[in-house]
């Protein structure tokens, strides 16, 4: 009986520690709601730690074929994401016209992009550290960056 209890405790500990590790970096949250009839509603949460981990399994040749424009943006993305962590929650860009409202802001440790208009609502929240990790990995594998 005691052995079963010990095994259960070990298993629970492993699950909790794995959960804490996975969610330590936060989650990537994507919400898309189309207002038209039959429009799609996409809502998903992905543990942010899974993205850089998954990128290790992507063959390097796919990164080498990255467009030049994207490669040029990587150093910029790395600097911006490492700098953003230093600042408090801020709305960096807010554009509103008669039709759309676009907002790029930092909330906690995440960068949040919201696009709201008559046709759809899109909300994306990605941990800043995840964007930084991905940019670093892409830069390491892309030639000339």
């Amino acid at each position: 009986m005691i052995i079963i209890a010990k095994c259960a405790l070990a298993l629970t500990s492993t699950v909790v520690v794995a959960g804490v590790y996975t969610f330590r970096e936060g989650v990537i949250k994507v919400d898309v709601d189309e207002h038209r009839d039959g429009g799609s509603h996409v809502h998903f949460w992905v543990p942010a730690a899974a993205v850089p981990m998954a990128m290790h399994f992507v063959p390097k040749r796919h990164f080498r074929g990255m467009p030049a424009e994207a490669s040029e943006c990587l150093p910029l993305l790395r600097i911006v994401t490492s700098e953003l962590r230093r600042y408090p929650d801020t709305t960096f860009v807010d554009v509103q016209d008669g039709r759309d409202h676009v907002r790029v802001a930092t909330v906690g440790s995440k960068i949040q992009i919201d696009i709201v208009n008559d046709e759809e609502n899109v909300h994306i929240a990605v941990p800043i550290s995840t964007v930084n990790d991905v940019a670093n990995q892409l830069a390491a594998d892309a030639p000339g960056v």
Binding site: V20, L84, Y87, D97
Partner: protein, 218 residues
Amino acid sequence: MSQLSHRPISQPLARRASVALAAALLFAPVALYAQSVSITSDSSKTSDRWLHVRVVSTESKNETVRVNVPLDMAEKVLPAINKDRLHNGKVRFNDTDMNGVDLKTLLDAVRTAKDGEFVTVQSNDSDVRVAKQNGYMLVHVTEKHLGSGKDGKSTEKSRVDVKIPMKVVDALFSAGKDELDLVAALRALSAHGDTELVSVKSDDNSVRVWLDSKNISD
């Protein structure tokens, strides 16, 4: 006392204590993470300098654009952009862009000159004033509606006010002859106090560029 020290701890109590300890150890990282998240809460007043841009257009359904950028970040990001004429935080221009005007010489003349008005143009449809005052370079341009006032006088159509610290202008032209050093200008700007740099007001648009220590625009 000796009776207490020799008394055996009951097994259920020891089990409960160990379960409580294990649970505490298990959830400690979660609690610490929650604390660290709550510490990074919002604060509008920061020690950093922020550049704000606000554009409001009443012309097309109250279109508004608000941009808030920390100067420190802009200083670090600019050298990473190498596109067209912008390289290493410097913008290259040539004589043809300036229609043959030697900007550097012109600026040297303004810098060494005493405070005063350099250009004053007053006409029926616009007023222009370029001056140097208390370490600032000032440019005021007013466009007028001709005779649209009650008594036939001209009324203001649009107004542009630019107020740039001379130190920032100096830093901007501190690079080569045909270069503008944007990073040096930002550095000079960050050493400056709260100030409104550009203000444009017209019938259908208003633009404001200003500098302060808040991470939110008003």
